[in-house]
């Protein structure tokens, strides 16, 4: 449980300490990639809680989502259509949906636990 959180902090520290710079025009791609990554992560957590987690699906989903989101943004820039909004919308909706399901799973667990403690 603590390993991913620790890894997140290490990642952030690493990002700040290496002073890695990207130019302005690529920052929109990176932001959409971040969103895709978060979406995959939350989806993975949900699958883990629902006990349907599959390593391969998770890993491939993570990279293809990032790649597709960035390429969609790229295509949008070259077509002159804000296609990245489509990605933002899709990922945003799915992110919230997954978070809601995760919340419900935790809620069910918590109520079961408290029920059992009150019965005892």
């Amino acid at each position: 449980m603590w390993l991913p959180l620790l890894a997140l902090i290490i990642g952030i520290l690493f990002g700040f300490l290496t002073d890695f710079q990207i130019s302005d025009e690529y920052s929109s791609y990176l932001s959409i990639a971040v969103l895709a990554a978060l979406d995959t992560l939350v989806g993975g957590i949900r699958a883990h809680l629902e006990k349907t987690f599959d390593d391969k699906v998770f890993i491939t989903g993570f990279f293809t989502n990032i790649f597709l989101a960035a390429s969609l943004a790229f295509l949008g820039v070259h077509l002159g259509v804000d296609l990245y909004l489509a990605a933002v919308f899709a990922f945003g909706v799915r992110l919230f949906h997954n978070i809601a399901i995760i919340r419900r799973i935790f809620l069910v667990k918590w109520t079961k636990k408290s029920d059992s403690t009150t019965k005892d």
């Binding site: 290490i10 990642g11 883990h48 390593d55």
Partner: protein, 232 residues
């Protein structure tokens, strides 16, 4: 289970890295100090001059206050102050050494274009700025006294100063200054002279020993000041 956590950890490391990089890219400070040493010095000098001006003003006001406190007859001092202020505001006729600038049309041989009806307002403004930089104390444009609230506008292709047309050539601008000779040279070599020539206008300056400037005739429109009633 352990394997799964490792995968999650790998993914979160990547996410963390991306977030950090993105955060750095977004929170990049946008306006940095772009002035170089010379520009900073210039700004400093300008500020110092401003400070000196303010100090002189303060000194003058203190002197007036001291006079008011010392003398029994306040009215005389007040009268002096009012006269001085009126002179500063351009409400009195003034005369003194200065220069006369004559602006006339100057067509070259192959001029093609319409008639020139008046001096464009941006040139008049530029000229006035330049005169003020050179130390002009009083300015009159075509018998219109230039005061603090004078507007130089364009309406219907003609230039208005103080609300009246500048419609004829040559246009005379009278300037009172402490050092007419140096202002004359400064104006003859100024950039505005070149800009006037682009508009097919010639600018000629003549230093004179005595030049008379009319008073400002119109009403001063004071919008944001009110007289203070004593005791109120």
């Amino acid at each position: 289970m352990n394997n799964r956590m490792t995968i999650f950890a790998c993914v979160t490391i990547i996410i963390g890295f991306m977030v950090a990089v993105q955060f750095q890219a977004v929170s990049e400070p946008e306006n940095r100090e772009g002035r170089n040493m010379a520009e900073l010095r210039q700004d400093l000098v300008a500020e110092k001059e401003k400070q000196q001006r303010l100090n002189e003003e303060l000194e003058r006001q203190r002197e007036i206050l001291y006079q008011l406190e010392q003398t029994e007859d306040v009215e005389e001092v007040m009268g002096d102050v009012i006269t001085e202020l009126q002179e500063q505001a351009g409400l009195t006729e003034v005369s003194g050494p200065g220069i006369i600038l004559k602006i006339d049309v100057a067509f070259d041989v192959d001029y093609e274009g319409g008639a020139i009806r008046s001096v464009p307002p941006y040139l008049v403004r530029l000229l006035i700025n330049e005169l003020n930089i050179q130390g002009a104390t009083h300015i009159a444009i075509d018998m219109q006294r230039y005061v603090a609230t004078t507007a130089i506008r364009e309406a219907n292709g003609r230039t208005l100063v103080n609300g009246s047309w500048l419609s004829h050539f040559p246009l005379e601008i009278k300037v009172i200054t402490d050092d007419p000779e140096s202002m004359h040279h400064a104006m003859m070599s100024s950039q505005s002279r070149e800009l006037f020539s682009y508009e097919n206008l010639s600018l000629v300056s003549t230093p004179v020993n005595q030049v008379e400037l009319p008073a400002y005739e119109k009403d001063y429109r004071v919008r944001f000041m009110e007289p203070v009633q004593e005791g109120s």
